[in-house]
């Protein structure tokens, strides 16, 4: 579904590449997380997977990007709407401003795609239910809290049923319960097989529980790529600004103090930690 080959990209006027020799293949229906320090290239990668790099940001790009069967270098982002979706961090900027209720806001993308009205109506209800916004469907998008606005941004994209959904830190305003709900919803979407999800995030605890694969970026390069447990406990991650879950930290300290054998694989979730220590 996603094939990135030898991708190197520089923003206009920058000498240091934001992405360097990135190779990434993501199969359909996978829930793939991207981690890394700020400025490591997570957002740039998200934009590259949705065509905004290079079409919107210009700059110099080498390599190839193919998503959902489309050559992104040849296709303007506007044409990709409906097949590739992007949700980014600031929920406020994702409200179109041209619609006066949440329901109509969610419908905006489908109107642009020219879907018939009955189809739009049924999809809206589905998207609102998935993101827990059914109660506020008739309110103005601007009357919502920050967290609700983030859910709205996600609902507005999910409703378009893209084959690939890219999200760049979409849970910053949500409390942990809300974050868990979003991760669970994304996981369910991917599991249903229709959607490939790429999620750039810092919140390791939730990635550990829901993602099937973690790609770690540092200085624009991929430094680790594999199952969450492997990547989030690997030594390559250490200098990368990614951090560790408290479970991993506790396990490391226990190993350092000789309380647990040094070769036991480190845990990243609660259950793995329980198993680790018993």
């Amino acid at each position: 579904m996603i094939h990135v080959h030898d991708l190197t990209y520089r923003y206009p006027g920058q000498s240091r590449p934001a992405l360097l020799d990135v190779n990434l293949d993501v199969p359909a229906g996978q829930f793939c997380a991207v981690v890394g320090a700020n400025a490591a290239g997570k957002s740039t990668l998200c934009y590259a997977l949705t065509g905004f790099v290079p079409h919107f940001y210009r700059g110099k790009l080498q390599g190839t990007i193919s998503v959902a069967g489309r050559d992104l270098l040849q296709t303007p982002p506007g044409e990709l709407a409906g097949e590739i979706g992007l949700v980014f961090q600031n929920p406020f900027n994702q409200i179109t401003g041209a619609r006066f209720t949440v329901r109509e806001e969610v419908a905006f993308g489908l109107e642009n795609l020219g879907l018939p009205r009955e189809e739009i109506l049924s999809r809206i209800d589905e998207a609102l239910a998935l993101t827990g916004l059914a109660d506020v469907a008739d309110r103005s998008p601007y009357a919502l809290s920050g967290g609700q606005q983030q859910r709205l941004a996600i609902a507005s994209m999910v409703v378009m049923r893209p084959r690939v959904l890219v999200l760049d830190e979409p849970t910053s305003q949500l409390d942990p319960v809300g974050t868990r709900e979003v991760f669970a919803a994304l996981s369910a979407l991917a599991a249903a097989g229709d959607t490939t999800v790429v999620l750039a995030e810092h919140k390791l605890e939730w990635l550990a529980a829901f993602a099937q694969r973690v790609v770690a970026l540092s200085g624009g390069q991929i430094v680790a790529d594999g199952p969450p447990r492997e990547v989030l406990t690997s030594p390559e991650i250490k200098g990368c600004g990614v951090g560790q879950t408290r479970y991993t930290q506790a396990a490391r300290v226990a190993q350092r103090d000789g309380l647990v054998p040094a070769d036991k694989p480190l845990p990243i979730t609660l259950q793995q930690a329980i198993d680790f220590f018993t």
Binding site: G78, L86, G97, N112, L113, R117, S140, Y142
Partner: protein, 261 residues
């Protein structure tokens, strides 16, 4: 809609159910009538006999009358004073010290106010009884570029947003010790820390907003559909054509008749 800079009032009424373009045509006709009708009192009569009952039908009579009053009264009064007091020559009606109110000036003011009443009265009816997005969609369906519709609608919602953002900036800068009350020098110095984040922030936002719009298919090729259904009917279509014809007739008649009093 307090999040929107619009005066639309939602009601269950026949007026509200009319197609937006019908109401636009009515507003246009009213505007032309206001400019073309002869005499002093016809405009006021038209307002009382046509506009007010229509407002009542739309269940917005109170709001409409208030809006008209608030909008036109200051204008009418200043017109009366300016034209009445400074009309050169003419017959004095009332003397107040060295100034006198001239009859011709008063007549001019009354006639002009009547015109303005009809010109704006129709658009006020439109604005009070029509959702802005319904009007924009109706126009877009008739060929108006979608980008214009988008700009109009977002502007309506952006104005309150700006206010909210300005308030947040004010809070933040005050929390950093910025005094905003006091002498004029202090207030002027307080402007930069308030305006720059507002402007810069808005400029930075534009890039992301453009990306978000693209991602939602704003420039996706192909025909667009609409969630909002605008009810129309053959009689309304006929009415709109009739109003358009009526506008033309009025304009021609006015031109032909030359200067009417």
């Amino acid at each position: 809609m307090s999040e929107t800079f619009s005066i639309y009032l939602a009601r269950e009424s026949g007026l509200h159910r009319l197609h937006p373009l019908t109401k636009l045509a009515l507003a246009g006709f009213s505007m032309v009538a206001g400019l073309a009708l002869p005499g002093l009192w016809l405009t006021y009569a038209a307002f009382a006999v046509v506009m007010l009952p229509v407002a009542a039908w739309g269940k917005i009579l109170g709001a409409y009358a208030r809006a008209v009053w608030r909008l036109l009264l200051p204008f009418a009064v200043s017109l009366l004073l300016v034209q009445g007091l400074f009309w050169t020559g003419g017959t004095p009606l009332i003397r107040v010290g060295p100034l006198s109110l001239k009859l011709e000036g008063v007549i001019f003011a009354v006639r002009s106010s009547g015109r303005i009443l009809l010109v704006t009265g129709g658009f006020l009816l439109l604005a009070l009884s029509t959702r802005p997005d319904a009007l924009m969609i109706a126009l877009a369906q008739r060929g108006m570029p979608r980008s214009i519709a988008y700009i109009v609608l977002t502007t309506l919602q952006i104005v309150p947003r700006f206010q909210a953002k300005a308030d947040a900036i004010l809070d933040a800068q005050r929390s950093r010790g910025l005094e905003t009350e006091g002498n004029i020098l202090r207030r002027v110095r307080a402007l930069l820390p308030l305006i720059v984040p507002l402007v810069l922030g808005s400029i930075l936002d534009i890039e992301e907003r453009a990306i978000a719009l693209e991602a939602r298919g704003f420039s996706h090729p192909g025909p667009k559909t609409s969630l909002l259904v605008l009810a129309d009917s053959a009689s309304q279509v006929a009415a709109r054509w009739g109003l358009l014809a009526g506008m033309v007739v009025l304009i021609v008649a006015r031109l032909v008749a030359g200067c009417w009093a």
